[in-house]
Symmetry: C2
Subunit: 350 residues, 2 copies
DNA sequence: TTGAAAGCGATACCAT
DNA sequence: ATGGTATCGCTTTCAA
């Protein structure tokens, strides 16, 4: 800001009152202490002068910055902006502002982001970056700093967290495929050190077992990241060497896209030869080729609830966990299996 | 933060020195004033105690919060996260942190966002929300607050701004279509009160004129928003009543998608019946059906440059403008025109 | 080279 | 109901 902004002192002088009286008017809790008439007079002067409280100065005294540090893996991954919006909108209702930093899933960047935000005196953190075992989460918890996890959870469940029901999602996914007639289903499941990856894989195995469906050795393939490239790589492995299958449950939409790419590269078609189902229902998923069948995850709500959990802790309430439902969105990447079981490891097309 | 954090005073006491000496060590400019030996001793103690400066307190004194308010139309629009990342990465190098708020293109929300950030003592603003005539921009400028515009510019060019070369983009778009053999080209151009919308429309008309191509009355259609819905609406109008055309330059990818939707709804095909080209090369544009021919805009760079311009002003340098190039990405939504000129307003399919 | 003290803008406790 | 004053954590000018 450039022009010297108007301060409490300016208002006090204009009102011919002491600065502390003016201060009292500002806060709802203390406003009752001052004569209603003078209070209103001060209100008028504040409006006239266009006074805006300096929240930084206030924070220095109250030890509350009214800001929340938000660490996000990657804002350019289209699901996270929804999380951030949910956080932002909910926080705003309580006068809080999120400070968002990207980590790129990089520990160094995460550290720097954390430090930068901490030195800005954020009142706590919301993280979408948790690993199943996460030193940063432990550190924050140990320091007694308010924390809410969103999307990804830690294994020890020490922290407040909002996640979506992966069990439900995988069940819906598998049942959908089974209903279409699939029996040999593969799982390209995402990183094992991240709760969503592990939960989707575990859920898959559980549900398959519960339905009495055998999962052939080698049909469950974790990846090293939720990326198109990993989807391609693992799908190629599956097609090259694994047992036959007619459908795959992918750990998220990016992996699903990668799987489809790998299929296409060999002249195989989705869903005619192999059905593929993803997770996230990410932006434009319904407009891809083919439109993706996927599990919708309400990311905005995840963010909103995470903000709630965060605010809860500031109010002294104990941490708790919230789980939101996933819902199946059937589009065109899934269909009945081919009559002659597909994906019989054809040689590379051409 | 919960545990009482270690302060400068703690460090000073531990060192048996005065707080101001310790303070001097912290800042590169004043560090020279203190005995190198004691400076190093203080460094050690700082490390040992895990002292982190309280930037809020520092800001109160220096009147620099080292934060920048960033107002974004809509973070869930996949181009803006790239802008934000560019801003964030560049700002970080100078120790600045962006505070991001969404406006939803809503004036009220914009005001609230601005106020919230201003009261947090941001050192200035970066806006992606500018209208061609924008009261908020004027206000910020009039107050002498550092400001950089990104993506969208104001007509009076008073502010520092980073935009992409719409003229170049439209030229590339039109030339591409002309080379394919199109002559009757429509323009679904986006809102006129936003610089990108207006510039793309103006560029279109200019380039068409320069190539000696007549644009039939009614083939240039501004929209009220950069949305799929608007694309559909206007494309329907075009197909219902306008003169014949074989291609359309859409104001952005969302509009292009809407156009394609409208086409499909009538049993018309893109690109066989009508070629469509968009702007932005947004996330997944290459994986839509059909993959979109579009103008790539380097949004990350736009954000990075905007941060540079912002920092420039803090350093007292005068505002300037930067323009970055757009590049044509040819995919599958454009093709030679049909032999029998398409889009002859067929009755609604069915 | 280091110490002392004022002050950034606000809050909150103690007095009156 | 209002005023006075210390203080939050740090920077910075002035002294020593």
């Amino acid at each position: 800001m450039s022009q010297r902004p108007v301060t409490l002192r300016d208002v006090a002088e204009a009102a011919g009152l002491h600065i502390s009286t003016v201060s009292r008017v500002l806060s709802p809790e203390t406003r009752g202490l001052v004569n209603e008439k003078t209070a209103q007079r001060i209100d008028a002067i504040i409006a006239e002068l266009g006074y805006e409280p300096n929240r930084v100065a206030r924070g220095l005294k109250t030890r509350r910055s009214m800001t929340v540090g938000v660490l996000i893996n990657d804002l350019t991954n289209p699901v996270f902006p929804y999380v951030v919006r949910g956080i932002e909108d909910t926080l705003a209702k309580s006068g809080y502002t999120p400070l968002v930093a990207n980590t790129d899933g990089d520990l160094d960047r995460q550290r720097r982001g954390f430090d930068a935000l901490a030195s800005r005196q954020v009142d706590g953190f919301i993280l979408s970056t948790a690993l199943r075992e996460d030193p940063l989460v432990e550190e924050i918890l140990d320091k007694g700093i308010p924390l809410a996890l969103v999307v990804r959870n830690v294994d020890n469940h020490r922290a407040a967290a909002v996640t979506s029901d992966e069990r439900l999602g995988t069940r819906l996914a598998v049942e959908h495929l089974v209903e279409l007639g699939h029996g040999a289903i593969a799982c390209v499941s995402g990183p094992e050190h991240i709760s969503t990856g592990a939960a989707r894989r575990a859920g898959f195995e559980e549900v398959m077992a519960a339905r009495g469906l055998r999962v052939a050795e080698g049909l469950v393939r974790p990846t090293t990241g939720f990326t198109i490239k990993e989807g391609q790589r693992v799908m190629n492995e599956l097609l090259d060497g694994g047992p036959p299958f007619t459908a795959v449950v992918a750990g998220n939409d990016m992996l699903a896209i990668g799987c489809i790419d790998a299929l296409k590269a060999r002249g195989l078609r989705c869903p005619e030869d192999v059905s593929i189902i993803g997770f996230n229902d990410m932006y434009m998923a319904g407009r891809l080729t083919p439109p993706l069948t996927t599990l919708h995850v309400p990311y905005y709500d995840l963010g909103a609830y995470a903000a709630d959990l965060f605010l809860d802790q500031l109010a002294g309430r104990p941490p708790r966990e919230i789980t939101v439902v996933q819902s199946l969105i059937v589009r065109e990447s899934t269909a009945p299996p081919p009559v002659r079981p597909a994906a019989k490891r054809p040689k590379r097309a051409g």
